[in-house]
């Protein structure tokens, strides 16, 4: 149940999503991945993808136009 971070600031879609998919693959069930993004379309496609996979997702707006997508790997 470790916590990992992934910095995707300054990166445009679909790179943050691809990086997230890859990073999550290597994590264990119960681990948490925090992805930092500032590209608003990643705020849509990362959570959408993660929810479809059945993971728990939460988005925090940490600053104006900057978000953290928190994903708990559930399977």
């Amino acid at each position: 149940m470790a916590e990992f971070t992934l910095d995707c600031l300054g990166e445009a879609c679909p790179i943050p999503l691809m990086k997230t998919e890859k990073k999550l693959e290597g994590l264990a069930v119960g681990d948490i991945l925090i992805v930092s993004i500032d590209h608003s379309c990643a705020m849509k496609n990362i959570p959408e993808w993660a929810r479809k996979q059945g993971h728990n997702v939460e988005i925090d707006e940490v600053d104006d136009g900057e978000w953290e997508v928190v994903i708990e790997k559930t399977k």
């Binding site: 149940m1 119960g30 705020m43 849509k44 959570p47 959408e48 929810r51 479809k52 728990n56 997702v57 939460e58 988005i59 925090d60 707006e61 928190v70 708990e72 559930t74």
Partner: protein
């Protein structure tokens, strides 16, 4: 699944749902200086963002897109200090003084919960539907998925405002938009303007008296089998995507067993947006109501936000001035417009002057709000409630209220 220690955060108000109703409730709560959290499971704006043009929301004579309008709502809520959290609510405990709203990482404790969770698209229930939802070919949002259908053939199911307007929007991208309507030729549920525009749109084709029988395909949707409701004849229509616009269902699963709802699952609320539980309010499309529009959701949200503020203010009076330790209390529940209530006021003035060392007098005018009286289980004024050590000892009603009997009750 959750082995992790959960965080606990305290709020005055937690609003579930970030559509027009939730955002408006947020504006009212934030402006009343309540510490307010709004939880939205996908993106802020709700159902309104699925409509491309909103022409009937007052104050926007040139119309506005749903997304733009909702962004303005959110901006205004943020200005009043509302905190936003984009995540799913996993469960709620709404009974009792402190309400708990659970997300996967945090338990939010609140004095008031406003349920503005709206609805979700209704499905046809036809064979094969589950296999092709969302990115596999069945969509519910033309605004979201229209561009992906550039140069393609799509099927729209339904004939309401959403179906026809979204269908017309799709013609800007798709080569052909086939509309399946269950009614007779020329009969549609949408407004007349949209209907006439749609019927004269060369890219739109209508299949009357049809319903979806089956969704077919491989990995992705290839075709939709439509059944003629009159003849029973099945027609296989080859399409690239299918858009369903056949109504909405309320998002109320997590409230079942706690909040009263009608058979379809819509919340039952009164004119103050109160549910069956004190401190829990409903607003917007999730409620059983006559008209579901941005304008009516805004009205609901305003009432719910105001009710929340009233409820919290009254809770504080009850907690700090009535059901608290210290001297015994004589709580006079009266109605300023009733002469018989006013006639008894001198009794309490006298008590206040003569017996200040042995009791506190609290006056509650039910003309302004019945909330506090309701909490003390008093339904009629005049009534005096005697409170000792934070507990209701006795209720003296009507003409039985005298200085002597109050002093007797205190002893």
């Amino acid at each position: 699944m959750n082995r992790r220690e959960k965080k606990v955060e305290q709020y005055d108000v937690v609003i579930i749902g970030g559509g027009a109703a939730g955002l408006t409730a947020g504006i009212y709560c934030g402006r009343a200086r309540l510490k307010t959290l709004l939880i939205e499971k996908s993106l802020v704006g709700g159902l309104a963002t699925y409509t491309n043009e909103i022409e009937n929301y007052p104050g926007f004579p040139d119309g506005a897109t749903g997304t733009d309008l909702m962004n303005l709502f959110q901006k205004q809520a943020k200005r009043f200090g509302v905190t936003f959290k984009l995540t799913d609510v996993k469960g709620v405990h709404l009974e009792g003084e402190t309400k708990v709203v659970e997300t996967f990482r945090t338990d939010y404790h609140a004095k008031v919960v406003i349920v503005a969770s709206g609805g979700k698209p209704r499905l046809t229930g036809a064979k094969g539907e589950d296999a092709y939802l969302y990115d596999k070919g069945i969509s519910f949002c033309a605004t979201c998925d229209a561009a992906a259908n550039t140069g393609k053939t799509v099927l729209v199911v339904g004939s309401g405002d959403a179906a026809i307007e979204e269908g017309m929007f799709l013609t800007k991208f798709a080569d052909k938009v086939i509309v399946s309507v269950m009614h007779d030729t020329g009969v549609m549920d949408c407004n007349e303007i949209a209907k006439n525009q749609a019927l004269s749109n060369p890219k739109m084709e209508f299949l009357w008296n049809t319903m979806v029988e089956e969704f077919r395909g491989g990995e992705r949707l290839n075709s939709v089998a439509l059944r003629n409701v009159k003849t029973g004849e099945i027609t296989d229509v080859t399409v690239d995507s299918c858009f369903l616009f056949i109504g909405y269902l309320p998002n109320t699963e997590i409230f079942k067993g706690q909040l009263d709802m009608n058979r379809a699952g819509y919340l039952l609320v009164n004119e103050r947006m109160e549910t069956n539980l004190p401190g829990v309010f409903g607003a917007g499309d999730v409620c059983d109501k006559f008209l579901k529009q941005v304008a009516t959701a805004v009205g609901d949200g305003a009432i719910a936000g105001y009710s929340a503020e009233r409820y919290i203010a009254e809770s504080e009076i009850v907690e700090r001035q009535i059901l608290c330790d210290g001297k015994p209390k004589a709580v006079y529940i009266w109605n300023a417009v009733q002469p018989e209530c006013r006639a008894l006021l001198p009794v309490f003035e006298q008590l206040e002057q003569e017996c200040a060392d042995c009791l506190d007098v609290v006056r509650v005018d039910v003309y302004k709000s019945k909330g506090i009286a309701r909490r003390l289980d008093v339904c009629e004024a005049p009534c005096t409630v005697i409170v000792k050590d934070g507990k209701v000892e006795q209720r003296i009603s009507g003409c039985g209220i005298t200085k002597e009997c109050i002093l007797e009750a205190i002893r």
